[in-house]
């Protein structure tokens, strides 16, 4: 598929998401590939931060793009592809976490939940604890706030955040501050434990 993209002849990288989607809907696989390449890292990054496991984040990323591939978007209209992808990714991530917890509780007993474990034996305990604490705090926040904070952490500008989170650009600052206050308050409680 990467090949399709390279051989397409057009410089698809300059096309807007909406235009690429329009072309993809008409069956242009190179346009779909371009969308994939454009958003893959960020969708994965968001999902990894949410679920904390590489394989799972990869699977979920695939799932998100599979949904994009199958989604019947209305033709001839402008679409916020990034916003759609991050929203679907958030849903997929939260579903996976909930499903994992349910499965784990149902299927095992007295085994540590792998989602709370370090990724490698060499990982420092402090880092493992730090990740676990941060995730615990995030789980107590509304999904919208989590999305905003994580995407900001991934380096998105306020303008990008407005698009990705589908909010008015003028309200991004306020929403981010509110989310940060909520996080800080929960995190401080956790840190005291």
């Amino acid at each position: 598929m990467a090949q399709d993209f390279e051989e397409s002849g057009s410089n698809l990288t300059t096309f807007s998401d909406s235009l690429l989607l329009e072309r993809a809907l008409e069956g242009d696989t190179a346009s779909f590939d371009a969308l994939f390449y454009r958003h893959y890292d960020r969708v994965y990054g968001l999902l990894f931060r949410l679920v904390g496991a590489r394989d799972e984040a990869e699977d979920l990323t695939q799932e998100v793009f599979l949904k994009l591939y199958r989604q019947r978007f209305a033709k001839g209209k402008s679409h916020n592809v990034g916003g759609w992808l991050y929203r679907v990714a958030m849903n997929a991530g939260y579903n996976a976490i909930r499903g994992r917890k349910r499965r784990w509780q149902r299927d095992t007993v007295l085994l540590p939940d792998p989602s709370e474990l370090p990724s490698s034996p060499g990982e420092r305990v402090t880092q493992q604890e730090e990740r676990a604490d941060v995730r615990r705090a995030l789980r107590q926040l509304p999904e919208k706030q989590v999305q905003l904070l994580l995407l900001r952490q991934m380096g998105m500008s306020y303008a990008e955040l407005a698009t990705a989170c589908e909010v008015a650009p003028t309200s991004v600052g306020t929403l981010l501050r509110r989310a940060s206050e909520a996080f800080r308050s929960v995190y401080e409680e956790i840190a005291k434990e």
Partner: protein
């Protein structure tokens, strides 16, 4: 306005706090081209044969569970007393902790398949057999023949029967090809088992067992924690990872979990989900495992305390009722 507008100390502080969540180098995803190719394959596969695709995926997982049971059964059957099965499984430790994982009925079917295929992880040599259980006259006698302090259920009065079984010893000489064939059949990467395992000897020692009965209702079995010696170059976490893959976990889950379980003392017990439910129970201040049969036939509690492994079974009893009895084992 742009840059300045985006500066907010509180937000920046929180963003910094979130930084550890970012994937590290070894957590980076596979290259996008590879993932895209996989996505396309998935689209094609789902389009052309959705039912088969889903079924295959499901079966692969279930087979993995069954294969573990196959391995278990081989070991369990080799040592005759079923009650000691829990202590014999995994065989690479002294039991101090219990953990459980559920197994579906179709995964159990894999057991039969492996059995039919005649696959074994190695040659088992019974060095000494436990022999027939002998009836004893008293708990004092039981203590004398077993060599350890025998606990009893203080609230149930004298047991109606006390039996003693000698210890047993066995040696499993690992046949790497056989062990890997089992893994392969379960769709688990056979190279998880290192080459160094081939021909390695695993020595299992089962200590004398005391069994007490109260009518047909309550049975308490106790034994010193079985001991398994394995070669120094065998890494229990590696075998544990193979086992967890057997149990249907994803490679990454199995890898991470295997390194966080103390395989030298944790007994992982696969429980058929159509037969019993399980939960953690506290018994005499320690953590144990409770099992309840789904058909209401009874329940069991197992725990380890002060080097002795206990298995308490209550016919027709609820787990709650049995736990009370377990707490009266002194």
């Amino acid at each position: 306005m742009g840059q300045e507008y985006e500066r907010d100390e509180l937000v920046d502080g929180v963003v910094e706090r979130l930084a550890p969540l970012a994937p590290r180098r070894e957590e980076a995803p596979r290259p996008p081209g590879q993932m895209l190719a996989q996505l396309k394959n998935q689209v094609e596969a789902k389009t052309s044969r959705p039912t088969w695709w889903r079924m295959q995926d499901m079966l692969n997982r279930k087979f993995a569970f069954g294969a573990v049971l196959a391995l278990l059964l081989v070991i369990i059957l080799a040592f005759s007393p079923v009650r000691a099965a829990a202590s014999e499984f995994l065989g690479l430790f002294r039991v101090q902790k219990f953990a459980a994982i559920s197994v579906s009925p179709s995964q159990l079917a894999m057991l039969e398949r492996i059995s039919q295929e005649g696959l074994y992880p190695g040659e088992l040599e019974i060095i000494s057999e436990p022999g027939e259980p002998q009836l004893l006259g008293s708990l004092e006698e039981a203590a004398s023949v077993s060599g350890y302090t025998v606990r009893t259920v203080t609230t149930l009065g004298s047991p109606s029967a006390i039996r003693f079984s000698e210890g047993a010893q066995g040696r499993l000489t690992i046949d790497l090809a056989g062990a890997r064939a089992i893994l392969r059949l379960a769709d688990v990467d056979p190279t998880l088992l290192p080459d160094s395992l081939d021909g390695a000897d695993v020595d299992v020692t089962i200590y004398p067992t005391i069994e007490q009965e109260w009518g047909q209702e309550v049975v308490l079995v106790q034994t010193e924690s079985p001991l398994v010696d394995y070669p120094a170059d065998v890494e229990p976490a590696v075998l544990g990872e193979a086992l967890l893959r057997f149990l249907g976990m994803t490679p990454s889950e199995a890898h991470r979990l295997a390194r966080n379980i103390d395989w030298t003392n944790t007994l992982l017990l696969p429980v058929p989900e159509n037969l019993a439910t399980f939960s953690e129970v506290r018994v005499n201040g320690v953590s144990g495992l409770g099992l309840s049969s789904l058909d209401g036939q009874g329940s069991s509690v197992m725990w380890e305390k002060d080097g002795i492994v206990f298995l308490l079974t209550g016919n027709g009893m609820s787990l709650d009722a049995l736990r009370e009895i377990a707490n009266a084992v002194k």
